[in-house]
């Protein structure tokens, strides 16, 4: 009998030592992420949620191609590594074979909103009961700082040396607003991890998303995390967080975009 | 004994199902059979054909280009297949659908008024079964009993009430060949 079919069992953490410690679901190793990068925080949050919901035994993650390609080195759960852009198709295959498992994808902007756009839209349109975590840092970090579909107008990247020119490169893609229109999307939110408060809100969003999946609410939960890329942006971590506040959030406004219907 | 047959006409005339019924009847009698259809966009209102082989021995190629018998239900098919009937073979065609009659001298030609007969039986959809009856009168490839057995398998349950009318059609088709020969 899986935890999901028994209903939600939440392990409330009272011991503060455990709050400060590494969650038991996060493998004890050094992450490859650059200093200040948001990926490591989001990894930790997902693993905290999996730990607190007591679903480690039934969680299956799908890693993308991009900076998070090695997510399975850090998350102590069964994981499958997808081809570039196809994480949600892979997750669909897993979830359809094992409907009582808690399946999630973890993708960057290039993976989810460029090469994998069709899979993103159709997975959500089918209302696959999975959680999608979308890290939007506006750049291709892994391949060396090229333009991403979400790169803002004027931003300099290694393939927009004069800044993103809308006439030449098109517009930053607000895929989260797009997919919120789909009937299969159950919960769509845009969060960040640049401050302690933002981190707490993102964790709450992740917690809700996994709970919805466990309850089989009938739809996809989608969590965008607008994050930074100090290396790709050629900034210090602090500068990159300021850049988020001053520029990025103005274009990618934080908050819930689609919330579940009130019961 | 081996029978190699081409059945050709327009999509919607029951060409493929006639062939399928014949093949199924062959299988009911324990024979080796194959049914190879034309397929694809050419079936959308265009010509359709199927090759049926019924044999006592294993069938090597389901793809052949000469036939013991051709059953022709429209003019384009007549033009395509008249010459591919083997010498001393049989060429059956539906009278109402053929304007330019075949001219082959070294095959036996049977002009079957199946369309008119189907109207007389008040069901134009059974034209193909009348033709099938005629086929079996020309060459007793399988028995009518086996064809009726096959129809039970080929037709979905909701259409089983149509088996009697199909039986009448088959019998009428057989009679027609006799009438034409004696005429």
């Amino acid at each position: 009998m899986s935890a999901a079919s028994e209903g939600i069992q939440c392990a409330y953490i009272e011991d503060l030592d455990e709050v400060w410690a590494r969650p038991s679901t996060l493998i004890e190793t050094t992450m490859h992420y650059c200093p200040g990068c948001g990926h490591s925080v989001v990894h930790r949050l997902i693993m905290e949620v999996i730990r607190e919901l007591n679903i480690q035994e039934i969680a299956i993650g799908v890693a993308p191609v991009g900076c998070a390609v090695f997510a399975y080195h850090y998350m102590d759960i069964d994981m499958q590594e997808a081809a570039h852009g196809r994480a949600t198709a892979v997750a669909t295959g897993i979830k359809r074979m094992l409907p009582d498992r808690m399946v999630f994808t973890y993708q960057g902007d290039g993976d989810l909103a460029a090469i994998g756009t069709a899979e993103t839209i159709h997975t959500i349109n089918r209302g696959e009961n999975i959680v999608m975590v979308f890290i939007n840092n506006g750049i291709y970090g892994m391949t060396g700082g090229q333009m991403a579909p979400t790169t803002l107008e004027g931003s300099i990247t290694s393939t927009t040396p004069s800044g993103r020119d809308l006439a030449m490169h098109g517009h930053p893609l607000k895929i989260t607003e797009m997919i919120a229109m789909l009937p299969g999307a159950y919960y769509v939110t845009r969060q960040a991890v640049n401050t302690a408060k933002a981190v707490r809100k993102t964790k709450r969003a992740l917690m809700n998303a996994f709970k919805y999946q466990m309850e089989g609410k009938g739809g996809t939960s989608f969590i965008e995390v607008v994050s930074n890329c100090p290396s790709g942006w050629k900034m210090t971590p602090i500068e990159s967080n300021q850049w988020l506040e001053n520029h990025i959030f103005k274009n990618f406004e934080l908050g819930d975009i689609k919330t579940p219907p009130k019961e | 004994m081996k029978h190699e047959i081409i059945i050709a006409g327009f999509g919607g005339q029951g060409v493929l199902s006639m062939g399928m019924t014949l093949a199924y009847a062959g299988m009911v009698e324990g024979k080796e059979v194959s049914w190879m259809p034309s397929y694809g966009p050419e079936m959308r209102g265009g010509t359709a054909n199927c090759t049926v082989i019924i044999s006592d021995a294993i069938i090597s190629s389901p793809i052949i280009n000469s036939y013991d018998m051709a059953v022709i239900l429209n003019q384009p098919s007549m033009e395509k297949f008249e010459d591919s009937v083997k010498e001393n073979g049989h060429l059956l065609f539906e009278a109402n659908n053929i304007m330019v009659k075949p001219t082959r001298q070294n095959v036996t030609i049977h002009e079957i008024p199946a369309m008119i007969e189907s109207v007389k039986l008040e069901n134009k959809k059974i034209m193909n079964m009348i033709m099938l009856g005629s086929i079996l009168a020309v060459r007793p490839i399988v028995t009518i009993k086996s064809v009726l057995e096959a129809l039970k398998k080929v037709l979905p349950d909701r259409h089983h009430h149509l088996i009697p009318i199909n039986e009448s059609a088959l019998k009428r088709g057989m009679e027609l060949v006799g009438e034409l020969t004696t005429a």
Binding site: V62, R86, R96, E119 | -
Partner: protein, 360 residues
């Protein structure tokens, strides 16, 4: 119990897959394999499996990758242009050593081509098709019965070797009807325990399972390759399958697979009727290829003719096997045209005599 039924090749394959314990089918419509997809969409959900019509062949094969990662029996089917689209992920599946069944009901190419039958995907099917050094076990049925039989076999081989297995059919085999008998087969008896590697959720008593094909350290990636190659050698040793017809006294051999072998069989009959001692060798597995038997036959026949519905693909493997011992000729038709028994016979007569002159 096991009654004979008259079925289309596509439908017989679909029915066999379900009887073999198929749990997930992911596909996209394309002629001439759509009956397969339609049959499974109708039958699989009511017989305990999951069906998805994906948004593309790319999505479909990646769903197969995900489904196969759970260790359940999964498959897809497509036709040539769709199989091209799937190549990237087939490389992943092969590298990750996941079991699954693939079906390519080949149509004429290149490009959008035609929907008529072809064998133009031999290279793509047998030589890899996607990136990197990998192999897919390729089964080539030549009858509706084998469309069913090879589906069971393919599922078993996929599980046994943790490798994708491809059924390489063609438009005509998919569309034609012949009698088929479904054998007794209880999927439970064929179940392979995949729990050691499958991603089904991590119990407390084992390390987490990870399915990945990324190994950035060159030495590690070479190790992965060496393991794969070792497996492929085992497959070559154990899984070669072929059929011979009238080869015992033959002094000339036709080599053909799939539908073409049926036509070639008829040509053998025609040739024998004229007193020519012609035999047929039909590879049933294209990878592994029946190299040894071809090499043996080359020691005692005067020549071979390879017949394919393409511009000459398998003929390269036949020539490698024969290794220059005897002349190997080729006769091919393209664009969806099926060679006729008589034209093959004409070709046999031509090369038969030429070879005679050469040996004289």
């Amino acid at each position: 119990m096991n009654t004979k039924v008259l079925m289309k090749g596509n439908e017989a394959l679909a029915e066999a897959a379900i009887r073999a314990g198929l749990k997930g089918y992911f596909g996209y419509p394309i002629t001439p394999q759509s009956e397969l997809l339609e049959y499974i969409s109708r039958e699989l959900p009511k017989r305990g499996g999951s069906f998805i019509q994906a948004e593309s062949e790319i999505a479909a094969i990646n769903m197969v990758y995900g489904g196969a990662g759970t260790g359940e029996r999964v498959m897809t089917s497509t036709s040539s242009p769709g199989y091209s689209l799937m190549q990237e992920c087939i490389s992943y599946i092969a590298c990750a050593e996941l079991p699954c069944l693939l079906v390519n009901v080949v149509r004429g190419g290149p490009g959008l081509g035609t929907i008529q039958p072809s064998q133009g995907d031999y290279f793509q099917a047998v030589k890899g098709g996607g990136h990197g050094d990998y192999r897919v076990i390729v089964l080539a049925p030549n009858s509706v019965q084998e469309m069913a039989d090879f589906t069971y076999l393919g599922m078993d081989l996929a599980d046994q070797y943790r490798n994708p297995v491809l059924i390489l059919a063609d438009g005509a085999l998919g569309q034609m009807m012949e009698p088929v008998i479904f054998p007794d087969y209880n999927p439970e008896d064929h179940k392979v325990d995949h729990s050691a590697w499958a991603t089904r959720g991590k119990p407390n008593d084992r390390d987490h399972n990870v399915i990945t094909t990324l190994h950035l350290v060159s030495e590690k990636m070479e190790e992965v390759n060496l393991t794969l190659q070792e497996k492929y050698r085992t497959i070559v040793q154990n899984e070669v399958r072929y059929e011979t017809i009238e080869v015992d006294d033959a002094d000339f051999i036709i080599v053909a697979f799939g539908l073409t072998s049926r036509v070639a069989h008829k040509s053998v009959e025609l040739a024998r009727a004229e007193g020519l001692k012609v035999g047929l060798l039909r590879p049933q597995t294209l990878f592994p290829f029946p190299t040894n038997i071809l090499s043996e036959l080359a020691d005692r026949v005067r020549g071979m003719l390879v017949v394919e519905m393409n511009a000459g693909q398998m003929v390269e493997d036949v020539r490698l096997a024969v290794n220059g011992k005897i002349p190997v000729s080729f006769h091919g038709r393209m664009g969806g045209i099926i060679p006729q028994p008589e034209e093959i016979l004409d070709r046999i007569k031509l090369v038969y005599n030429v070879n005679e002159m050469e040996t004289a």
